[in-house]
């Protein structure tokens, strides 16, 4: 079965700094990978997804993620964060052969002014 590990429960960065949120997955086949964002008192929204092809995928608001198969990782990056990026970020993995999506526990991002 698939699983996702987000090792950092909380990350604090200064506005304008670069960001990396870590995600490692466990799945023996070719995964579908996702990053979702959750703003306060809202549901999750898709940031970006990877199915195949170019391992670097671009998402909304300047976010990108890189699929590194050898490391089973799908880290999220942003070159320069804004205070409005403060939210909880979830990494998720799915197999193309079933209907389940498995979520990590999320990383709380705090952007300091």
């Amino acid at each position: 079965a698939q699983s996702v590990t987000q090792p950092d429960a909380r990350v604090t960065v200064s506005e304008g700094a670069s960001l990396q949120l870590r995600c490692k997955y466990s799945y023996s086949g070719t995964p579908y990978l996702f990053w979702y964002v959750q703003y306060p008192r809202q549901g999750l929204q898709l940031l970006l997804k990877y199915y195949s092809g170019d391992p670097v995928v671009q998402g909304v608001n300047g976010f990108e993620a890189e699929f590194i198969k050898s490391n089973s990782s799908f880290h999220l990056r942003k070159a320069s964060v804004h205070w409005s990026d403060s939210a909880v970020y979830f990494c998720a993995v799915s197999a193309n052969s079933n209907n389940r999506i498995f979520f990590g526990d999320g990383t709380q991002l705090v952007v300091k002014p």
């Binding site: 979702y36 549901g43 999750l44 193309n96 209907n99 999506i101 979520f103 990590g104 526990d105 999320g106």
Partner: protein, 111 residues
């Protein structure tokens, strides 16, 4: 734009009472899901459905039932609510392995 609507948005229930959380999607997705979100646990899957008339147990189904009477509607039922079921509940819809679209959540307090 895909749309998932949950009702009610907030609910206060008494211990032992029956609670029904409703979810409606206009995306024509086959799959629908119910999650609960608690601090320190992320999202945990309670029940899901592949289509009208089907329900499947997720990872934490005990104390919950689900009903999918139509493609658009998926309900979560707490027959005998307990304080441990106080949480935020999210409904989502999607196609196999693809993006999930989430509702805004229902905040349930069981007193």
């Amino acid at each position: 734009e895909a749309a998932v609507t949950q009702s009610p948005r907030n609910k206060v229930a008494v211990t032992g009472g029956k609670v029904t959380l409703s979810c409606n999607q206009t995306n024509n997705h086959n799959n629908m899901y119910w999650y609960r979100q608690d601090t320190g646990h992320g999202l945990r899957l309670i029940h899901y459905s592949y289509g009208a008339g089907s329900t499947e147990k997720g990872d934490i189904p005990d104390g919950y039932k689900a009903s999918r009477p139509s493609q658009e509607n998926f309900s979560l039922i707490l027959e005998l609510a307990t304080p441990s079921q106080t949480s935020v509940y999210f409904c989502a819809s999607g196609d196999s392995g693809d993006t999930l679209y989430f509702g805004a959540g229902t905040r349930l307090s069981v007193l």
